[in-house]
Symmetry: C2
Subunit: 310 residues, 2 copies
């Protein structure tokens, strides 16, 4: 994209974003110090035909997904978002729908209470959005702190995005619920913050699938994460297997001591309308290994009485 087109596009985006994007236009954006806590930053890319296909979702939904995918990484640290920078690579065919993409991103960023402070525009053969998110956390929760004996909890109901893409790949239509989970996920801000405040020892967002992300967390923490397949919170019509491997959920997977869980569960209804489910336990054992056991498998008795809280 050269001069004229680039600046026309920037002006059009700024007009759509309004007060969400002010003071843009310098070589770099100036950040205020975090109001409290620790500054955190992450970057995430959304590439056409890798992370979505054009016929599946609207341009606005493409924007929503790109923003959520990036912002969810802050929620998974127990943080809130403050600043966003957006780098678009824009082929000719995306010039017109770009405004709707911007609207979708803008809605998510506004809802998060953050502002757009910078970005980059480039032409290119393949549409992509690379989103940098900057926030702060009162208490940072890494993925490396899981302790033996912690409970493993999961927010929300899993399997929607996986079921939706499976349906589309087969030339079928996904259920409305699955489609909605793919097209319009939400960062779990309140849930992440409440889990951090409750004393979560480790947390990660589910982007590679529950089983995969449990392995990442286990490897980082040097523990074994044991999931109980029968307890994994699956959405309507979702198989246990799909709930374990469906990615791009942007739900949270966290570990915390049983006592901390009990306290959190008691007040959970005031935190969120999204369910919080105990789906496993942290064991000593081989790092980077996660087992997924069948219902009633031994080892889960000590939290057998615990149910999903809503």
């Amino acid at each position: 994209m050269r001069d004229g087109a680039e600046f026309d596009t920037i002006r059009a985006l700024m007009a759509r974003w309004g007060d969400l994007a002010v003071d843009i236009g310098d070589d770099a954006a100036v950040l205020a110090p975090p109001v409290e806590g620790t500054r955190v930053v992450s970057v995430d890319a959304c590439v056409e035909d890798v992370h979505f296909r054009r016929p599946w979702i609207t341009a606005r939904e493409v924007g929503v997904r790109a923003a959520v995918a990036a912002l969810s990484d802050l929620a998974a640290m127990g943080a809130r978002a403050e600043y966003v920078l957006i780098a678009f690579v824009i082929p000719e065919a995306w010039r017109e729908p770009l405004g709707d993409v911007a609207d979708g991103m803008g809605a998510v960023i506004r809802e998060a209470g953050a502002r757009i402070v910078g970005g980059n525009l480039s032409r290119g053969a393949v549409f992509s959005i690379t989103t940098t998110v900057i926030g702060s956390a009162r208490r940072v929760v890494p993925r490396s702190g899981a302790c033996v004996g912690d409970l493993v909890v999961v927010t929300g109901l899993l399997g929607g995005p996986g079921a939706a893409t499976q349906a589309w790949d087969a030339g079928e239509s996904p259920t409305a619920w699955s489609r909605g989970r793919f097209a319009a996920p939400a960062p779990r801000w309140a849930e992440g913050e409440a889990l951090a405040a409750a004393g979560a020892s480790a947390m990660i967002d589910i982007s590679d699938g529950l089983a995969g992300d449990a392995r990442h967390l286990a490897a980082a923490s040097g523990v074994h994460v044991e999931l109980d397949v029968a307890r994994v919170p699956a959405g309507p019509g979702i198989t246990p297997d799909m709930a374990l491997r469906s990615g791009e959920e942007y739900e949270l997977l966290a570990c915390l001591p049983a006592t901390a869980y009990e306290t959190l569960a008691t007040g959970w209804a005031t935190v969120s309308a999204v369910p919080l489910t105990v789906g496993g336990v942290v064991r000593a054992g081989p790092e980077d290994a996660t087992s997924a056991r069948a219902t009633g498998a031994r080892g889960f008795d000590h939290f057998a009485s615990r149910k999903t809280v809503r």
Copy 2:
């Protein structure tokens, strides 16, 4: 890129970067507060067949250019770099040369005194590198502060990148000097910091060409920037026109009062081996307009005695 390949690639990159990239692997990176001054952040994308073509330069040089393009935006604020996040989109053909790209980026980031704290890997049909850079400035210099009467100064010798791409596009070989300016630019850290400390009123890096970036600065400052074509510092064999429009220079264009310039020029040899040239003056006048006058044009008498300093 799915699971196995992605994590193999991350491990290979981490091995190459060594102590340049530590504590990577959480959802988001934790940043320390700036040691002093103001935190600044910027993002820049480098896309194959838009910002470079594969036959022109080595994979290592691709990495050098991508890192410099992003870091230069911090230098243009008078800042130093502290943290870098790198998002790669990697087609199959780039899997093998990716290590050399990483080496090029790593060398520039190490030289800058910064660290790699995060990133993202995605497969995709077109190779791109989107680089987020975070730093701090003792004194932030925006592009919007130019005052009527300020001198306009430029670091380095211009025209190399433009001449190199023109030669390649014509099927010819660029001169060694022009090729070097395209393939191995450098962020002007010491120069930017010295200009900020000297009291520069406005600063921008030359990525769209001297004339174009002077217009950006003029528009942001609400002034008219008058360039003297005969004074623009052109490299060996470079025409004045090419020096005005050659982009991706990553030299600095700054405005500052004449007295501040005199003081800075006196000690410039201790700052940098790169020349600092007075190439114009800030006038009252129509915003978003930059004139480029011929040698000896009226209006430049008040700094006619000033030469390039080295």
